[in-house]
């Protein structure tokens, strides 16, 4: 910013105000031209399809009967919202989201503190933590499934002396346990990195001063670190909640076939669209997922809007 204003100064002082508007007009034009491709791609590949999904959700559209497309109004939504399948899948998704995000927040904070303050080995810890972050989710899910499934000879059931297969669909508790463990393992590092960003903003002098005044490490954490990190914590929670809510990959792999007790909303949408090829009902599910994500995001931004804006350096 400073560079441009220095360069503009002589031109401004020497000429009439008109040239200034020309210049800012040119700048504006250049900016729009530079942003246009990215904006066009983003709109074309997300906004247009979601509108199209809304249109499809109002039709009786089944790809197995392509000629039978009739206007169906809001009936698809009625069908979805009055089915117990949808509500149990919403409930499954909420359980997975809430439990994994809560565990990740605690573990992520511990990991962030370790990455930030460890006396030695910080590079090693950061490198190790990035491996779950970078690993393909499908691979992570297979690793956990193979470890826990008796059917493929996993070592965990053997080591713990299970008499049954914990990943059999008849044992929902262990199914959830493994899905949540996979999710927590894979994404805690991401949570920790977002928290680390906030942690580095806490001035060291504050800690020193509090220490001189006799505050314990625990008091310093709750009275100094957490309040100053609030924006970072909220951003991390927002991103992870939305991400966990659309959980698909790990549930798909760990279910290994139909598993109604573990099915999440994304799996339901996928099954309707791509297995049953029912574009109308599937699109209604898609739109409902979109709306739920939008509501969660809205509540976060509304509830914590000011801290989010602070975090992003805006007013």
């Amino acid at each position: 910013m400073s560079a441009t204003s220095v360069a503009e100064a002589p031109a401004r002082s020497g000429r009439a105000p008109k040239s200034e508007t020309d210049r800012s007009k040119a700048e504006r034009k250049l900016a729009w031209m530079l942003c246009a491709p990215a904006v066009i791609v983003m709109v074309a590949v997300t906004a247009y399809p979601i509108v199209y999904a809304f249109y499809l959700s109002l039709l009786r559209a089944d790809l197995r009967f392509p000629d039978d497309r009739t206007w169906n109004g809001l009936n698809n939504y009625g069908t979805v919202l009055s089915s117990s399948l949808w509500w149990s899948d919403v409930w499954h998704t909420v359980i997975i989201t809430v439990i994994s995000v809560a565990i990740e927040l605690v573990l992520g904070m511990l990991l962030a503190i370790t990455m930030h303050r460890a006396l030695f080995g910080r590079g090693l810890v950061r490198t190790a933590a990035l491996i779950p972050y970078g690993i393909v989710t499908v691979v992570a899910a297979f690793a956990w499934r193979f470890a826990w499934s008796s059917a493929v000879g996993g070592f965990v059931p053997k080591a713990l002396g299970f008499s049954y297969d914990p990943l059999d669909p008849t044992h929902p508790f262990w199914n959830y346990f493994v899905v949540i463990a996979t999710e927590v393992w894979k994404t805690t590092p991401f949570m920790a990195l977002l928290l680390l960003a906030g942690l580095t903003l806490v001035p060291e002098e504050l800690h020193e001063a509090a220490r001189v005044d006799g505050a314990s490490a625990w008091q310093r954490f709750w009275r100094i670190t957490v309040p100053l990190m609030k924006p970072a914590i909220l951003v991390a929670l927002l991103f992870r909640t939305l991400d966990a809510f659309r959980i698909f990959d790990s549930v798909f792999i760990i279910s290994n076939g139909p598993n109604p007790k573990l099915e999440t909303v994304s799996i339901l949408g996928y099954n309707q669209l791509l297995n049953r090829l029912n574009l109308g009902l599937g699109s209604a599910v898609s739109v409902l997922i979109f709306l739920m994500v939008a509501v969660i995001a809205f509540l976060f931004v509304k509830g914590f809007g000011t801290s989010l804006a602070q975090q992003r350096g805006e007013k």
Binding site: M1, S2, A3, V6, S24, W32, L34, P37, A38, V39, V41, M42, V45, T46, I50, Y52, A53, L56, L110, T114, L119, G121, R126, T127, A128, I131, G134, T137, V138, V139, F142, A143, F146, A151, V152, F155, P157, K158, W185, F190, L193, L196, A197, G198, T200, L201, A236, F239, L242, F252, V265, G269, L274, L279, S283, S286, I289, V293, R312, G313
Partner: protein, 278 residues
């Protein structure tokens, strides 16, 4: 920070570090061990193979399901990365350096797309791609990947671009450099680390994706590794493909481990920069 507490502190941080290492690496260790078990001992429930073998690896490299998928994964992820970084760099330059109305709108839009649930557009894209002939092709995956990585790329790059001392460009021109020289010799080297970091993050996203890969492809023509291994057939109807999946899983993890080992600092800087300053 009293000196007397130094011993316990070292011990404390040592165990914290150790816990992180075990937490982060154990599942990778387990699936790697699994991939080296011979087909007869694959389901023996032991953590360390009794009978070491590389047969799972030689098996998958004989199957076109895997080799084609590997080729598709590499090609699609690289092309998506290049396009996304170029488009994002243009937008980020404008956002970091130019003054124009609509800047906030673009940033809010990018933020909204970062929160967008991909499953919501899989159905329409499936239908559109079949009509446009993009179903089961490379562009059919490249387009959604670059779209979903643009927000991250724009935020990360504009955070990096704001840190560049752009005055140097003018200074170089005053010293007699042409605009191209000022850009290529002064600005480009300063911008390169940020661009490179962004490229790594975009690549990891594209390499990782499963939702689009499993929905928008159907054959070896464009199926990527995550989609392919989720559908690996066993050697026979009665045999589980556990060994092949484990070996393929290790192969796709190798590039990630290499990137993490070499570019740990950059990845951490990129993720934290986008989060704080974006």
């Amino acid at each position: 920070m009293s000196e007397t507490a130094r011993g316990p502190r070292i011990l404390g941080w040592g165990s914290a570090n150790f816990a992180v290492l075990v937490f982060a690496l154990f599942p990778v260790f387990w699936i790697t061990m699994l991939s080296f078990k011979s087909p007869n001992t694959i389901s023996d429930g032991r953590l360390i193979p009794k009978d070491w073998s590389t047969e799972n690896y030689s098996q998958i490299f004989k199957q076109s399901v895997f080799t084609d998928a590997l080729r598709n994964s590499i090609g699609i992820a690289l092309i998506a990365t290049v396009i996304a970084v170029v488009l994002a760099a243009m937008a980020a330059y404008a956002i970091a350096r130019l003054d124009f109305p609509g800047k906030t709108l673009i940033l809010s839009m990018a933020l909204a797309i970062a929160m967008f649930p991909p499953i919501s557009i899989v159905g329409p894209l499936y239908n559109m791609w079949r009509n446009l002939g993009l179903f089961d092709t490379w562009p059919g995956l490249i387009i959604p990947y670059m779209t979903f990585t643009l927000p991250l790329a724009i935020y990360t790059l504009s955070a990096f671009f704001r840190e560049i001392p752009w005055e140097l460009e003018q200074a170089a021109q005053i010293d007699g450099a042409t605009p191209w020289q000022a850009f290529s010799k002064v600005i480009a080297p300063l911008a390169a680390p940020g661009v490179f970091t962004t490229a790594i993050l975009v690549f990891i996203f594209a390499w990782n994706d499963f939702v689009f890969a499993v929905s928008l492809t159907s054959t070896n023509a464009a199926q990527t590794v995550p989609a392919a291994i989720s559908q690996f057939p066993g050697a026979s109807q009665f045999q589980q493909p556990t060994g092949s999946i484990a070996a393929a899983a290790v192969i796709v993890t190798v590039p990630i481990i290499i990137m993490v080992l070499f570019f740990q600092r950059r990845i951490v800087a990129g993720l934290t920069a986008g989060a704080v300053k974006g």
